[in-house]
C-alpha cells in the first residue's frame, strides 16, 4: 500500500471526530476506539473479501451501504456505523446467515466462543422467518484433524483463503454454486496440512472443528494456561486448555512478534501422549531383561548409591551425563549443579543438536549467539537464504513468517540444499549442492552455482541466513556451521571493500529442540566451558570404559545420535545406565533404571527459542504423579547426602539471571508475555574463532564421491510429523506421520526396476534396512531421502562414521 505509515487522519464516526491511522481498514481501525463493526469473513490475516456483508456502514456521499472491512481510512471520511438502517441491515444479514445454520449450539464445540453466536446475540432477531427445509449434508473429514460440518458453514471463505494466502497448500476449495456451494478438499483428498488447525479458530462458526477435541468440553469450562510450545525451536505461545484432570486441547496464544497467532499442526494436536497409559509413571529397575516397578525412595537410593560407588571407584569423570534439547533453562541449571556439586564430572553434554560440540567450541557458540536474527530481523530482510533448512518442516511457523516476508514485504528467498523442498516454494534462487557439501569456501563462492546468489549478497541491504537440519544432520556438522559463518564474514568483508555496507546480517540456526539455544547458553556460554564434553566423546569414552555410568536426561541416542552403532556400543559397554524419560524409548529400554519425569505441560520455567527470546512456560493446573527433572535432581542430591539445593524454578531462574547479564529481568514473574529478546552482540562483534575454510576441506567436501559399490547418498530428513515417541503415543497423529519411505528420483527408480510402494533394501557398509520406495521429482539423481525417525528402522544404524557422507546402495527387496 502506497500510504505513508502511521499517519493519523481525521475521520468522523457517528458524529464524533477521531484520529485514525490512514490506510487501515475501518473494521480494524475502529476497534481501539471502542466501536464494533461486526464481521465474519474479514480477518486481519487475510485480504478483504466482502462476502458476509455484516460490516455494512453508511459512508457520506455514497449511494449504497459500504463494507467497512475493505474501506481504508482516509482524511475526511464520514461514516455512520450505528443507525436504524444499519441495524436493519445487520438483522437481515444475520437472518440470511442463519437460514441454513442449525440451532444446535448446545452440542456444537464452538458454542461459547462462536462469533456467529455472539453476533446473533448482539445484532440479530430472536425469531427467524425461515420455515423451509434446510440443506442437509453429512459431515466429512477435511483431514485427520478436522471435521467439516456443512450445515453450520456460512461460506465466509476464511478457511479457503487461509490455505491459499497463508498456508499456501490449497487444501480447501469451494465446490458447486449459489446456496449449494460447499467447502471441499481438492478431488476429495484428505491432505494433511502443516497449518490446517489454524482454520478451527479462523472459522467464525462451528463448521470446522477439531476431531481430537470433539465433545471434550465447553469453552467456558476449560481452564486456560498460557505457555510455550515444546515441539520445536520456534516456541510458539500456546494456551493449554484443561478440564476434569486432563489436557483437552491446545490453542494458540498470540505473540505478535513471534507467531502472530499461527501454530503448526504438530504443536496443536500432538498432545495425546500426555495422558497415554504407556507413559512411565513409576521408577522401574531392570530385572532379568524386563522392568520391575520400584518405589521412589528405593529408586533414589539405588541411583545415589551407584553414583557414589562409581565416583569412589573410578572418579567423578566416570559418570557421563547426556541431556536432551528440550529441558527448561532451570532444568539445565539444576543439572549443572547436580553434575558439579553432586557428581563432580566433566563429562556432561547439553548439545544434542551438534553432537561434536565441546568446550573447545565455546567461541563458536559465542559467534553463533551474537549473530542470531529474530523473526522481525528475518521478516525485514531483503534477502533470506535457507542453507540446508526446510523451515516449513523444521520450524513451521518461522517458515510461515518467511513466506509472509516474501509475499507481503517483497523479500527475496534463496535456498542452498541438495534437494528441492517445500520451503523453497517462493524462492527465486536455488543453489543445488552435493548432499552434505555445505563446506563452501572461496572457490564455491566464485562458482557458477553461486553466481546468482553472489549478486544478491553484494547488493541487498538486510540479509538473513538460516541454516537447518540438512546441514546439521549431514556429515561434519561443525565444519559446515563454521562455513556458514565464513560465508557471512565474507559477505561483510566484500561489502566493506565495496563501501556498500550492510544494514543487518543475521545467521540463524534452526535446531531441533525447544530449548537447544538454552542448552548451548547454559553450558558453553554461562557455564565453565571445560566442564562440558561433547556427546560424541562421552559415548566414545563409554565404549573404552572411561565412562562407566551413563546418565540420560530426556534423550534418545539410539535413534537420534547420528552414528547408531557407536551409541549402541556405548550402551552395551556402560556398566550402569540411568534414564530420565517419559516413555520406554529405544534408549531408555536399554537402561538399568528408569526414572520417570513429568511432561512439559507441567513445567514452570523458561526457554530460549531460536531467536534467543527468553519465554516463560507455565505449568497447567493439573497434578501429575511424577516429579520434574529439577525436582528429581534435588531429590537425588538429598539422597546422596548433599542436602537440598533448590526446590522451585523461580529460585533457579533468579540464580541464572544473576549470572547472565544479558537477561534484563531478575525474577521469573517479571518476564513479559511476549518474552524478552536477549542480545548477545556486545560480547562478540567479530567472527573471532571462525578459522577460514581451507580449499582442501572444501574440495574434500564437495568432491566426496560415494563409494563405488554404494552409489547413493543418504540424506536424513527431519519431518514435522516425524514419528517421535510422543507422536507414536498420540493416536490421531498416526494418520499423518510419514511412512517408512525411501524417497528416490524417478529415473533412478526406473533404472533399478523399482516402482512406487515396492519394498526396497537400503544397504550401507555396516548394515541394511527395508523401506518402501516412493518417487519424487524433488529428489536429485543418486540421492535417497529417509526420515530420521522411523520406528525400528533408525537410519543411524547404517552410518559408520558421522563425519563422512552417508553412501548406500538400493535394491528391490
Amino acid at each position: 500500500m502506497d500510504v505513508a505509515v502511521n499517519k493519523l487522519v481525521k475521520v468522523n464516526i457517528n458524529g464524533k471526530d477521531y484520529e485514525l491511522l490512514e490506510g487501515m481498514y475501518l473494521t480494524e481501525a475502529v476497534k481501539p476506539i471502542g466501536i464494533e463493526i461486526p464481521q465474519f469473513c474479514a480477518h486481519r490475516w487475510l485480504e478483504p473479501l466482502g462476502a458476509c456483508r455484516m460490516c455494512l456502514v453508511r459512508v457520506e456521499k455514497m449511494p449504497k451501504l459500504q463494507i467497512a472491512c475493505a474501506l481504508p481510512v482516509r482524511e475526511g471520511l464520514v461514516v455512520t456505523t450505528e443507525s436504524d438502517e444499519i441495524r436493519r441491515a445487520r438483522e437481515e444479514m444475520l437472518e440470511f446467515h442463519l437460514l441454513n445454520h442449525p440451532l444446535e449450539c448446545p452440542v456444537c464445540d464452538r458454542g461459547g466462543e462462536c462469533p456467529l453466536q455472539d453476533l446473533t446475540e448482539r445484532y440479530g432477531k430472536y425469531q427467524s422467518r425461515y420455515i423451509e427445509e434446510k440443506l442437509i449434508r453429512a459431515d466429512t473429514k477435511l483431514n485427520p484433524f478436522l471435521r467439516m460440518n456443512y450445515k453450520r458453514c456460512i461460506l465466509c471463505k476464511r478457511c479457503v483463503r487461509y490455505c491459499d494466502e497463508i498456508a499456501g497448500d490449497h487444501l480447501i476449495e469451494f465446490e458447486d454454486r449459489g446456496g449449494w456451494t460447499k467447502v471441499t478438499t481438492f478431488l476429495g483428498t484428505e491432505s494433511p496440512n502443516r497449518f490446517s488447525g489454524n482454520i478451527i479458530e479462523l472459522c467464525p462458526v462451528g463448521a470446522i472443528t477439531s476431531i481430537p477435541f470433539r465433545f471434550r468440553g465447553r469453552a467456558w469450562e476449560l481452564e486456560k494456561t498460557r505457555t510455550v510450545c515444546n515441539q520445536c525451536s520456534v516456541g510458539c505461545n500456546l494456551e493449554l486448555h484443561t478440564r476434569l484432570g486432563s489436557l483437552q486441547r491446545i490453542v494458540p496464544a498470540v505473540n505478535e512478534v513471534l507467531d502472530d497467532g499461527h501454530i503448526c499442526d504438530r504443536g496443536r494436536f500432538a498432545y495425546g501422549w500426555v495422558h497415554s497409559d504407556a507413559r512411565i509413571r513409576k521408577p522401574s529397575l531392570k530385572d532379568n531383561g524386563g522392568f520391575t516397578e520400584i518405589s521412589w525412595s528405593e529408586a533414589e537410593s539405588i541411583v545415589a548409591q551407584k553414583i557414589r560407588d562409581t565416583v569412589r571407584d573410578y572418579g567423578g569423570d566416570a559418570i557421563g551425563i547426556i541431556a536432551g534439547n528440550s529441558l527448561t533453562n532451570e532444568d539445565y541449571y539444576a543439572l549443572r549443579l547436580f553434575a558439579e556439586h553432586g557428581v563432580g564430572t566433566k563429562n556432561v553434554s547439553f548439545s544434542e543438536d551438534i553432537c561434536g560440540l565441546s568446550a573447545e567450541h565455546a567461541q563458536l557458540v559465542n559467534v553463533m549467539l551474537s549473530k542470531v536474527g529474530c523473526v522481525e530481523d528475518i521478516m525485514n530482510s531483503e534477502l533470506i537464504v535457507l542453507i540446508g533448512a526446510d523451515v516449513l518442516e523444521e520450524a513451521p511457523v518461522l517458515g510461515l513468517r518467511v513466506e509472509e516476508a516474501v509475499r507481503k514485504r517483497g523479500a527475496t528467498l534463496a535456498s542452498i540444499s541438495s534437494y528441492n523442498h517445500d520451503s523453497e516454494r517462493y524462492a527465486n534462487t536455488l543453489v543445488r549442492i552435493k548432499p552434505g557439501a555445505f563446506i563452501f569456501g572461496e572457490s564455491a563462492f566464485s562458482s557458477e552455482e553461486f553466481s546468482k546468489l553472489r549478486y544478491e549478497f553484494e547488493n541487498r541491504r538486510r540479509i538473513s541466513l538460516i541454516f537447518g537440519q540438512e546441514l546439521l544432520c549431514g556429515p561434519s556438522p561443525i565444519k559446515s556451521i563454521k562455513a556458514v559463518y565464513q560465508l557471512a564474514q565474507r559477505i561483510e568483508r566484500i561489502r566493506q571493500e565495496r563501501q556498500n555496507p550492510l544494514e543487518r546480517l543475521t545467521v540463524t540456526p534452526i535446531f531441533r529442540g525447544a530449548n537447544s539455544l538454552g542448552a548451548l547458553i547454559l553450558s558453553l556460554k554461562l557455564g565453565v566451558p571445560n566442564q562440558f564434553e561433547s556427546m560424541t566423546n562421552i559415548l566414545k569414552k563409554a565404549t573404552t570404559g572411561e565412562v562407566k555410568l551413563l546418565y540420560l536426561v530426556g534423550v534418545n541416542p539410539i535413534i537420534e545420535y547420528p552414528n547408531g552403532r557407536l551409541a549402541k556400543e556405548a550402551f552395551s559397554k556402560a556398566e550402569f545406565i540411568v534414564a530420565q524419560d517419559l516413555f520406554l524409548t529405544e534408549s531408555s529400554a536399554l537402561a538399568d533404571i528408569i526414572l520417570p519425569v513429568s511432561p512439559w505441560i507441567f513445567r514452570d520455567g523458561t526457554y530460549f527459542n531460536f531467536e534467543g527470546r527468553l519465554q516463560r512456560a507455565n505449568s497447567c493446573p493439573l497434578t501429575d504423579v511424577v516429579p520434574s527433572d529439577l525436582e528429581l535432581f534435588n531429590r537425588l542430591l538429598i539422597s546422596m547426602g548433599k542436602g537440598s539445593q533448590f526446590v522451585l524454578p523461580d529460585e533457579l531462574f533468579a540464580k541464572l539471571a544473576r549470572e547472565a547479564d544479558f537477561i534484563p529481568v531478575k525474577q521469573l514473574a517479571d518476564i513479559p508475555k511476549a518474552g524478552i529478546l536477549t542480545h548477545f552482540e556486545s560480547e562478540a562483534h567479530s567472527f573471532e574463532g571462525i578459522e577460514a575454510i581451507s580449499t582442501a576441506e572444501e574440495v574434500c567436501s564437495s568432491n566426496s564421491e560415494p563409494l563405488k559399490e554404494f552409489p547413493f547418498y543418504l540424506v536424513p530428513k527431519h519431518y514435522l510429523f516425524r514419528n517421535s515417541v510422543k507422536v507414536r503415543h498420540t493416536k490421531w497423529m498416526q494418520e499423518v506421520v510419514p511412512k517408512d519411505w525411501a524417497i528416490l528420483n524417478y529415473e533412478d527408480a526406473q533404472e533399478l526396476g523399482i516402482s512406487e510402494g515396492d519394498e526396497v533394501v537400503v544397504e550401507s557398509k555396516v548394515g541394511s534396512l527395508y523401506f518402501s520406495a516412493k518417487m519424487s521429482e524433488q529428489v536429485p539423481r543418486k540421492v535417497v531421502i529417509i526420515d530420521r525417525n522411523i520406528q525400528d528402522k533408525a537410519i543411524n544404524s547404517l552410518v559408520s562414521k558421522e563425519d563422512v557422507a552417508f553412501s548406500v546402495r538400493i535394491k528391490k527387496a
Partner: protein
Amino acid sequence: MAEKLKEVKVTTALCEIPVAHRIDVYEAHGGYLALKKAIKEMKPDEVIEEVKRSGLRGKGGAGFPAGLKWSFVPKDYVGPKYLACNADEGEPGTFKDRYLIEKNPHQVIEGCIIASYAVGISHCYIYTRGEFYLGKERMEEAIEDAYRKGYLGENILGSGYSLDMVVHTGAGSYECGEETALLTSLEGDRGHPKMKPPFPATHGAWGKPTVINNVETLATVPPIIKEGADWHTSLGTDKSPGIKIVSVSGHVERPGNYEVEYGVPTSSIINDLAGGVWKGRKLKCFIPGGSSTPALPAEKVDIPYDYESLASAGSMLGSGALIVFDETTDIVRVAEIITRFYALESCGKCTPCREGTRWMLQIYERILNGAGRMEDLDLLLDICGGVEFKSFCPFGDATVGIVRSTINLFRDEYEDYIKNHKVYEREFIPVRHGVNGRSG
C-alpha cells in the same frame, strides 16, 4: 395511422447474408475500412475522443459510456494492458451477442482492434460463454483469417501497432458476465466477482489495466469510426444516442433480434417488428431489458425504448431483451422460473444473494405447491430489501426486479394461489433442498 417502425441495421446489417462470417464477404461489404481509417489516419486519442463524442453507451446492461471507460486506462502504464470482449451472454431473454459472433464475427473483431489501438492494448481476449459452441468456432475462424490478412498480429497494416487476440471459453456461469467475475474466470479461478475499487481499468486481469466491453458495443465501434460521431448522435435520443439490438422473445408472432434507434416506442417494436402479441391475444405485461429488469404493465407499452424513459418508469433497458407476456400467462410461475434461474446461477460468494435467492425460490415453490401463506408476499418483498444494494455485485440487485414488480403489479394472482391453495402442475422436478448437492 403512423408509419411503421423500421429497423436501422448497423451491426446486424450483414447478418442475413448466409456467409457474412467469411472475411472476404465482410471485406466486400466495406469491412475493415474503419480499422484502416483509425489506424492510418487517426491517433489513439482521436479514436477515444470520437467514440466519446458519439455518446456510445455500453450495451451489456449498465449503459456506461464506452469512450469514458477507455479513457480511464492509464496511458503511460508500463506493461501489458488487456481488452476483454464480453461474449458471456447469459441473461435470459438476450440473444444478440450470440447472433453477432455467429453471423458477423469480423465486425466484432474490427471493433476490438480499434478499441485496443485506441487504448494501447496488445492482447485481447474474446470471453465467450461456455455454451456458445458455434459462436466460439466462428470467432476462432475469423480471428485466424484476420491474422492471415494482417489485421491482427505483428505490425498491423504496416502501422507498427501489434495486437494478439484469443478466444477464451467460460465454464458456463451467468455470473461471469459481470466484469470482475469474468476476469477471475479468465485468470483461471472460480468466477467470483472481485472487489471494486480498484476498477478493472487500472487493476483488471492479473492486476493489469483491462477494458471490458460487450460484443455489441464493440461491434458498433467500426460504423462510428467510418461514419463519424455525428452520424451516431443523429440517431436515438439526446441521452441515449445510437441504435440498440432488441431481442424480442415471449408471446409475439415473430421473435428475434431487431436493431432500432433508442427512444422508439416499445409498442412499435412489439407490434411493427415482432408482429404483435401472438394468437391475437392481449398484452399482459412485458420485461423491457432482460430477466434482471422489473416487469412493466401493459398500459406502459408505449414508453420510449431508451435508458432514461425506462428508468423513470421503474425498470431498466438492461441488455435489451424484451420479453412479452400475453394475457394467459401465469405470472407467479414466470417469477418462479426467473427466481430459480437466479438461485441456481448465484455464484455463492456473498451471503444476501446466495441465501436470499435460494430462500425466495423455496417460497415460490411452496406457493406453487399450494402451501403459500399471505405473509409470504411481504416476506418476499422484505427479502428483496435485504438483497438489493447489499450484495457484493449487481447480481443481487438483478434478482429482485421480477419478484418485486410482479408482486406489486399482480398481487391478486399471488393471492389467488395462496387463498385457493392452487397447485401449479409442473412438468419437471423442482430443485430439492434437503439432499446432498443439487438435483433436478
